[in-house]
């Protein structure tokens, strides 16, 4: 066997075992497991949305005002909105939008935050000072407020909302990773790497960053719920998605005008947000428990 492949296998094998063990722990935690299945279902729905919704044309290509604000029925499961569009189709499509925007926002925050944290923690000194003080400045704003401020400056659209959220979320990752990096720095393998003259950058990106992945994943899965909620809030305020995008927050905002006559219009997008955010939060909590060595020993 080629020694490189052998090395790779050496690395992968314990990881696979780890994942298997994690899944075993996941199975033991019923609530987390349920949340996990809900999220898997949401992803499946999001991917299959164009094939399963009854009225794909109601997303943006068609409006039929003659059928406006019909209550839920066999034909329109969740009723229709003010332009006669099927709310069920739009809510299902909304999963796509919420999940992709949330993943993009969190991903962007990780891309900004993790390297910065690793650099700050590993190099230390004035670099650490500068990076961490900047993070402190960002952390001193409530995330939603900062996102609102950013969107108001650059203009309201879904893309800008994603960027704004990423910009207000990255400091959390920087902090987390920096803490990890500082403790890793004292570990033998890093010191060994330093001793044989490995460059700082190589240490940061091939030793420090990979070893901070698990806390970052836990943090990310916990953040997903919050990010989905923030995107919905921004859209609700008219600062995120714009019509005719079937975004949940935007749908609730429009439905306010009809709430007294058409309860279904606000209830279903609201339920969608509720279920998604709850599932992600439960999953995040479960992940934390699973990955926490203290709970593992038990």
């Amino acid at each position: 066997m080629d020694s490189r492949i052998y090395n790779l296998m050496e690395i992968i094998r314990p990881r696979v075992k780890e994942v298997g063990f994690s899944f075993y722990l996941l199975k033991k935690n019923k609530l987390t497991l349920a949340a996990f299945y809900v999220i898997v279902a949401l992803f499946v729905l999001a991917i299959l949305a164009p094939y399963i919704v009854p009225y794909p044309s109601h997303i943006s290509d068609e409006a039929n005002v003659a059928n406006k604000l019909l209550p839920p029925s066999g034909e329109y499961l969740f009723g229709t909105d003010e332009l006669g569009r099927d709310i069920f189709s739009r809510v299902i499509y909304g999963i796509r939008i919420s999940l992709t925007t949330a993943i993009l926002a969190v991903g962007l925050a990780i891309i900004i935050g993790v390297p910065l944290g690793a650099i700050a923690g590993t190099i230390g000194g004035w670099v650490d000072e500068v990076i961490m003080r900047i993070t402190d400045i960002f952390l001193s704003f409530p995330p939603l407020l900062l996102a609102i401020a950013i969107v108001s400056i650059v203009g309201s659209s879904l893309n800008n909302a994603i960027i704004a959220i990423a910009l207000s979320w990255w400091p959390w990752y920087t902090r987390l990773v920096r803490g990890q990096a500082v403790s890793l720095k004292e570990r033998k393998f890093i010191q060994a790497a330093e001793a044989i003259g490995t460059s700082k950058w190589k240490i940061i990106f091939s030793h420090v960053v990979p070893n901070t992945i698990s806390p970052v994943i836990v943090q990310a899965s916990m953040d997903m719920g919050g990010v989905i909620l923030t995107i919905a809030s921004l859209s609700f305020l008219g600062l995120g998605a714009q019509a005719p995008t079937p975004e949940w927050g935007l749908m609730i905002n429009t439905s306010r005008n009809y709430f007294l006559n058409a309860w279904w219009y606000s209830i279903f997008p609201g339920l969608a947000i509720f279920i998604t955010v709850l599932a992600f939060n439960l999953l995040g909590d479960g992940f934390r428990e699973i990955m926490d060595p203290k709970t593992r020993k038990r």
Binding site: A243, L260, N261
Partner: protein
């Protein structure tokens, strides 16, 4: 045992909460004291409290505090006397003599006379703010005797009509007429109207109290106090009227109106309105400078769907620029229909490539019907391959953007409502079609000398030869329709919801949004 105790405590708390709620309701205003009329208004009750300056919502307050020389009567469709008892003009409409009513008192005790009229109108003319342009025709105001005032005009104009204007025609007390705008905006006022100011909170509410010495006298069942308060949400205004807290409101959403029609304790009042909703094309920007392209856009607009399904019949399809009920309106004018095939044809003819074309549509946020209309239009334009980007903004921002010095930085299409300053079609032609040096309301940026000349001539003729003026007004509209400068979306109906006990109100299209509380009474 513990559980039962818990339950008992819970029930007690719940009971207390429920009792607390209903307790709050019972502390209602005691009967037989002051009778209050509460008008829940969609927006700020006024922007500037100076009657010479205000060119916005403020007329809903000012018309109850101040009065004008004449008033447009919605029942007769004519100009009726108010502070002027009668008036005459010379043959060619250049000299107008008004006889002023005697024994009329201002709120501050001053007497109304010819001098007060002259000073009030001169104040408005000197300030040159708001709608002061309506007096542009006036050359000189002469006081003939104590109760006769003569207007000498530089060109013929229907001054009796102008004196009835909703804006900039108020008569102010001689004690207040020399004060500056700041004094008025501190919440001071002195008019001859039936109500005087009691309390003013800028941007929120105005409370008016009955003026005991009002010249038309008072009956027992009229209102002692008037509250005009900003309640921006349609559903909140609806609830106020349903609960009987507010006496009257307007600007409700179609869904709310529909629900209120079922309610026996609420009257839904419909009236003519001279408001129409107009889409303005940015004709100074490519590709909207192309008339064929604009025609294509006009043919793509969902006219019938808007009137029937969005407004649910609470609007008429526009025919031409001038709304029905005003002279100059002509039902025989050509009107664009929704016809995507024709739109496609004109698009081809225009040579504009719709691929990747994005048009920006702006309008004032908060109006549900406009938002729905914009979304329908978006769907139709998508079928032509054009992407419509909808931008809902505050009116300030919409207007600011439309006045940008660079045409490319302005919006492509802007939707706005327009109603006249006084009962005349000239308001549409002068403000929306006639060329402007500084952009104000000509938001299609029309610059056409031929049209300008026709409008100016029509304006001159309107005082002396109404039939000829009307012909010209129709000619102007034909040209405007042919060039497709505007989308004529719909003519609005004025729809109000009032408490069943609130009587005597009739919407007056010449004074948009105004409730003349003196005419109303309770039952």
């Amino acid at each position: 045992m513990k559980k039962i105790l818990c339950l008992v405590i819970m029930i007690c708390i719940l009971g207390a909460i429920i009792a607390g709620c209903s307790g709050g309701q019972s502390t209602q205003v005691t009967e037989n004291k002051l009778k209050i009329a509460y008008y829940a208004f969609i927006s700020e009750p006024y922007i500037d409290f100076d009657p010479s300056v205000e060119y916005s919502n403020g007329i809903i307050v000012l018309h109850n505090i101040y009065e004008t020389l004449t008033r447009y009567d919605v029942n007769t469709g004519k100009i009726e006397p108010l502070l002027a008892e009668e008036w005459t003009s010379n043959e060619d409409g250049t000299v107008w003599t008004f006889r002023i009513r005697k024994d009329v008192k201002f709120h501050d005790g001053a007497e109304l006379n010819a001098e007060a009229v002259k000073k009030s109108i001169e104040r408005t003319m000197d300030l040159q703010m708001g709608a002061a342009y309506i007096w542009d025709c006036v050359d000189e105001i002469k006081v003939k005797d104590d109760y006769t005032v003569e207007f000498v005009l530089s060109y013929p104009a229907p001054l009796d009509l102008i004196a009835s204007a909703g804006y900039a025609a108020f008569i102010i007390s001689p004690n207040a007429v020399d004060k500056d705008s700041a004094w008025f905006n501190e919440g001071n006022a002195a008019g001859t109207g039936p109500y005087k100011v009691q309390q003013v909170t800028k941007g929120e509410e105005v409370i008016l109290a009955k003026f005991d010495d009002y010249w038309r006298g008072w009956k027992d069942n009229q209102y002692d106090r008037v509250i005009i308060k900003k309640i921006p949400e349609s559903s909140s205004r609806r609830q106020l009227v349903e609960k009987g807290e507010a006496q009257i409101t307007s600007g409700l959403s179609v869904t709310d109106i529909k629900a209120l029609r079922e309610n026996p304790s609420v009257n839904v009042i419909e009236g003519t309105s001279w408001t129409n909703i107009i889409g303005f094309f940015n004709t100074e920007k490519k590709p909207l400078d192309n008339a064929d392209f604009r025609r294509a856009l006009c043919y793509a607009f969902p006219y019938d769907e808007v009137v029937n399904d969005i407004k649910e019949g609470m609007a008429y399809k526009s025919v031409g620029l001038i709304p029905r009920g005003l002279w100059g309106h002509d039902d025989n004018l050509m009107q664009y229909e929704t016809d995507l095939q024709k739109a496609e044809e004109y698009l081809k003819k225009s040579g504009v490539n719709p691929e990747g074309l994005k048009l920006e549509l702006t309008f004032t946020s908060g109006t549900e019907e406009l938002r729905n209309m914009a979304q329908l239009y978006q769907v139709n334009l998508k079928k032509l391959g054009i992407e419509l980007q909808i931008q809902e903004m505050n009116w300030d921002n919409v207007w600011e953007k439309s006045k940008n010095s660079k045409p490319e930085d302005r919006q492509d299409i802007l939707f706005m409502q327009w109603w006249p300053d006084y009962a005349s079609p000239m308001s549409w032609l002068y403000s929306l079609v006639h060329s402007e040096e500084d952009i104000l309301f000509n938001l299609s940026y029309i610059k056409d000398e031929n049209l300008d000349a026709m409008i100016e001539e029509a304006d001159m003729l309107s005082a002396t030869d109404r039939a000829e003026a009307e012909k010209l007004v129709i000619e102007v509209q034909k040209e405007v329709l042919d060039k497709a400068y505007f989308i004529h979306a719909y003519d609005d109906k004025s729809v109000w919801a009032a408490d069943a006990g609130f009587k005597g109100f009739k919407p007056n299209p010449a004074y948009e949004g105004v409730v003349f509380f003196y005419d109303t009474y309770y039952e």
